[in-house]
Subunit: 205 residues, 3 copies
């Protein structure tokens, strides 16, 4: 199934870019592997823990974990070559974001949850692996400050959920959501789109 | 039911003050919403994940999530006016702390857990939303350093649990716990009460 | 049972050294207790939440929680004397690491999970209490940067799992895994062994 292949590409790419982030923090090999796993599989894990879905995907299918660990190892070996692949990476990462979001929405939808929860499930799956990575790397999650990452995830979820109400078939809506999300993300990177910030200067606490 | 109304006031206030904290970190709109949700609903979510209670409150009742998101949105719109409401905020926040703690104790008590776990459940519900917020905002949880926040939560839990053994009816004990906790918190803010600190200067690690 | 006694020694020691770390951050008494609980019981809690095992150990047996809280309290009282016990602490901590890892592997094995998950379960149990502590103390987890801690945990898990295939009895393999892990950890401390680091200097994000 297409979604399955896209999922495997997604976790591979997330693991590789997470390994590079960890490398910039001079972590040891094992730390790099942990960061790669948390980034690639953390969003889905958080979603399943919140939804009470067990066993977790990577516990039932340890092959995903092996894939992520392999991707981290390859990244450490081939890091000097990674620079040239930067564009390919960003594109695959944008694809991963869209795919993860659709998967997350899909799962919550099958559980017949409220549309708000379906959206949240999509965003958590798509964007929270990066939040967990940033917490472990001791920085304010980029997600909250710089990137149009979560917004794209939200957009993908919204399209995915609106499509059926417009009479669009489930699979077509899914593909459309991923395609639009991917495009917006690529445009956001190209033109440095950002969400407006909320700046509050009073000393509150 | 009174507790239910107090709970809704509590999550609203927590969401609003969390949004202001996020604003001071210059987060984007979506980041502000995430921080608001985590702060207002994170304590109860952590409690339920640890207790294995599913579905989570906000998954079963997405209205709470909508309320929190709405409160965050209103805060961003009306931030300049918030300063004048500071005292009202602190009072409602103290109330929220007491209410959340009682709710957390109540849930663990209904599961017939040990009194120590009931206390822990109360403190997690009351005070850990703020801990999660601080972790995401990349600061040492205030809770552990400056505030008499968790201590008040502990006090509320202790009163709630002691009351029945003094022959006080369940509801009366609950109200008494909340009233005393609220008062102590307000006094703590007014007179800058703090818990003693444990300071250890040796280079240990 | 030996493992049970070692487990209690392990959580006591982890709680005590966590309390000292918290003391160096000038946390208040309650913060110190929270850090002690999270460090001593957090690894096993994370493991059980990921595996969907409920009730959690410390919820079913609140005595463990009381032990950890007591250890934290004693540490605050006797902190000035702790310096002299440093060597004993490091040894007991190394023992705790090995014991926790074996317990974590054991639990996943009884659930008949894949060997990769058994290893992960061991490392999470052994080493992630410290990760959670560092996240709450707002520092990049030491684990990922300085210590041979997680590597020893991985080694213990690997020996524990290989032993049966070499015809070694379960209990003997368990003891061997703990003994070797303990020894390697002590040697690593003595000779400052470290895992190689992955350093990546390109500006990627």
């Amino acid at each position: 199934m297409l979604l399955h292949i896209l999922f495997m590409i997604g976790i591979t790419v997330e693991a590789m870019s997470a390994a590079l982030v960890a490398g910039r923090r001079e972590m040891d090999w094992l730390g790099v592997c942990v960061i790669a796993c948390v980034t690639a599989l953390g969003g889905g894990t958080l979603r399943d823990v919140l939804l009470g879905r067990h066993p977790l995907t990577w516990i039932e299918h340890p092959g995903y974990l092996a894939l992520v660990l392999g991707a981290a190892a390859v990244t450490m070996l081939l890091a000097p070559m990674m620079k040239r692949l930067r564009s390919a990476f960003l594109a695959l990462d944008a694809l991963g974001l869209a795919v993860f979001t659709v998967i997350g929405c899909n799962i919550a939808k099958e559980l017949q949850l409220h549309w708000l929860i379906i959206l949240v499930s999509g965003v958590i799956t798509g964007a929270f692996g990066g939040v967990l990575r940033d917490v472990l790397c001791n920085q304010i999650p980029l997600l909250f400050r710089k990137e149009l990452y979560a917004s794209v995830s939200l957009l993908v979820g919204a399209i995915y959920m609106t499509a059926p109400h417009l009479g669009i078939a489930h699979d077509a809506g899914m593909v459309a959501a991923m395609a639009i999300g991917f495009s917006v993300r690529m445009l956001a990177i190209r033109y440095h789109w950002e969400m407006p910030k909320f700046v509050y200067k009073e000393d509150w606490e």
